[in-house]
């Protein structure tokens, strides 16, 4: 750290201490959380499906892993399918050309693929959100970003929580996270929402039933 940098830090901290001299002592750090831990309790999978659909994701239901492969096959617009480590082989349709991220695929290559197939860390029913944290079957962030079509499998009901307050304690802040609620969208033109700008313009979510 050079001297100027050091003095900027010290000066800002000194300004803060001078400015908030009237702050109460540290015992007052308890926040009154007079809000709900969740707004719903039951039928979370149905609500997740409804809210995802509301934001223009397409939702499918699979009763068994083999059904996933059939659904994926029907969704693909071309064979080049990015498949991160940890995606079960049973999900991958035979007609797809699975591209593994070993060695790491560069952005230009990713840009030429047709889709990416992943699992997720969890999904939030109330807000219609799926969360990726780079865990098994999810890959690094670029894999679900550059391809124009993201197919995501959610294991139901164990990966579905009701609300954001229920989701955060299950997530590890030291992992990179991407929360996704529908495909890429913008409201920048006359504040009308239109889908599809830079992120994947198609988001397909497959809800895979538990006992499978």
């Amino acid at each position: 750290m050079n001297p100027t940098a050091s003095s900027a830090r010290e000066e800002i901290l000194a300004r803060i201490r001078a400015a908030s001299g009237d702050a109460p002592s540290t015992d007052a750090r308890i926040i009154n959380r007079d809000y709900l831990a969740a707004h719903v309790e039951t039928d979370l999978v149905d609500l997740l499906a409804e809210n995802l659909t509301d934001y223009r994701a397409r939702v499918y239901r699979a009763a068994a892993p083999a059904d996933v492969a059939v659904i994926v096959a029907g969704l693909l617009h071309g064979p080049r399918l990015v498949v991160p480590d940890g995606v079960p082989d049973a999900w991958i349709p035979a007609e797809a050309t699975a591209l593994r991220d070993q060695p790491a695929l560069d952005p230009a290559t990713l840009d030429l693929t047709h889709a990416v197939l992943t699992g997720c860390a969890l999904a939030i029913a109330e807000t219609g959100t799926i969360v990726l944290d780079g865990g098994p079957g999810q890959g690094r962030r670029a894999l679900t970003l550059v391809p124009d079509h993201h197919i995501c499998v959610v294991r139901c009901p164990e990966q579905v929580v009701a609300s954001i307050p229920q989701a955060l304690p299950l997530l590890d802040p030291t992992r990179p996270q991407t929360w996704i609620a529908g495909p890429s969208a913008t409201s920048d033109i006359e504040l009308d929402r239109v889908e599809g700008v830079h992120g994947p313009r198609l988001l397909d979510v497959i809800l895979l039933a538990a006992r499978s």
Binding site: R15, I16, Y35, R141, W179, G199
Partner: protein, 481 residues
Amino acid sequence: MTGVYVGMPAFPTAARAATRNAQLRANLTRATHTIRDRRARAVAELEDWEGLRQAGKAIKDETLAHLDDYLLQLEAKVTEAGGTVHWARDADEANRIVTELIRATGGSDDQPHEVVKVKSMATQEIGLNEHLAAEGISAYETDLAELIVQLGDDLPSHILVPAIHKNRTEIRDIFRERMGEWGRPAPEGLTDTPADLAEAARLHLREKFLRAKVAVSGANFMVAETGTLVVLESEGNGRMCLTLPETLISVVGIEKIVPTWRDLEVFLQLLPRSSTAERMNPYTTMWTGTHEGDGPKQFHLVLLDNGRTQTLADEVGRQALRCIRCSACLNVCPVYERAGGHAYGSAYPGPIGAILTPQLRGTASELDASLPYASSLCGACFEACPVAIDIPEVLLHLRERVGREAKEHGGHRLERAAMKAATYAMTHPAVYRAAENAAVRARKLIPKKVPFGAGKAWTETRDLPELPEQTFRQWWKETHR
């Protein structure tokens, strides 16, 4: 703050032009009313909204009360996770730090320095793009609205939707005329449908994303407890910038901290509904330092003061630092709707700008001194604010400050005298009654249009009421004694 707004006229003058621009008025009315109604519905879905709002307020107040502790905690966590933290006292220092960091990433005459940018209020505030341009570094805005503003050589006029003052046809014309100068031109026969315009932006920016080595961002939240930064967005341009380049530089105001990871549960509910009226925005990215094998290899966090500590020193005004930049106050503000964002002369327009800008910059300029008066005190902003900033209260507080500072320089003399005279008359009933009686007697003499001062401002568009033959007080005497 930045030089780009210097020399702007005071608010009433700047607003005058906007009120007479029918196209602008129509664009703003349509856009603000669309989002206003949708926000109300999104908020109504949550029965505990007021509880979330009060918790949001309390968390931000706690952050501000112990900001030094939280900043040090954040610094330690970010550093531990592989990031580097820089501190900037003002805009110049922040711009210098960012420039040096970009230069340090290499580049040459063959490969000139360029960066991709995620929409960021902080870099807007410090005029980073203009500074980088002067240093020979191209900064490409990647948010659709920021792109429209940048291509159109324009200024942002809204926090969430910087190009809100442009309609689809105007945007199409800007894309057709200017995209080619910056990179891939607009497709042949581009129409003005939002989907086509979004597609044009996708094609134009994709090559920039795929080759970018450095990105510059802001952040919506920084978690002190974990060192995590959070960016909420919709289009995916944020994910592109935050994920693909080798180096990421985030410039963030020191007040953007929340103490704990858990605190995000409040703001991730408050912000999307207040800002885009969604249950959840399409994309939220969270990162903590650098992550092996995923995303940028270098992460720099530039913590920005630039007037925030002087705002913190004001007991009434500091609540403006709770702001999470949702722009709900702009969308419900009748003054913003008519005056447009440019009249506010800063990166922060609307009600929040009217209290934030004069505190960050001070009230020395005519424009900044006029901002606290740019409100009818209707209170719609306070009602909509997800962190319960009492904007009318701060406006009045700043009006007092402007009046006090003007007194020191001999300004506002007539107004101060008038206010004092009114108080004198009203605390001396005989004087008051005499003045009233004189007014009633002279009522036939009051002209329809008064040629000067406040009377002129009033009677240009409005008739004065015809004064009655007797005051209430006179009637009471006649009938009740």
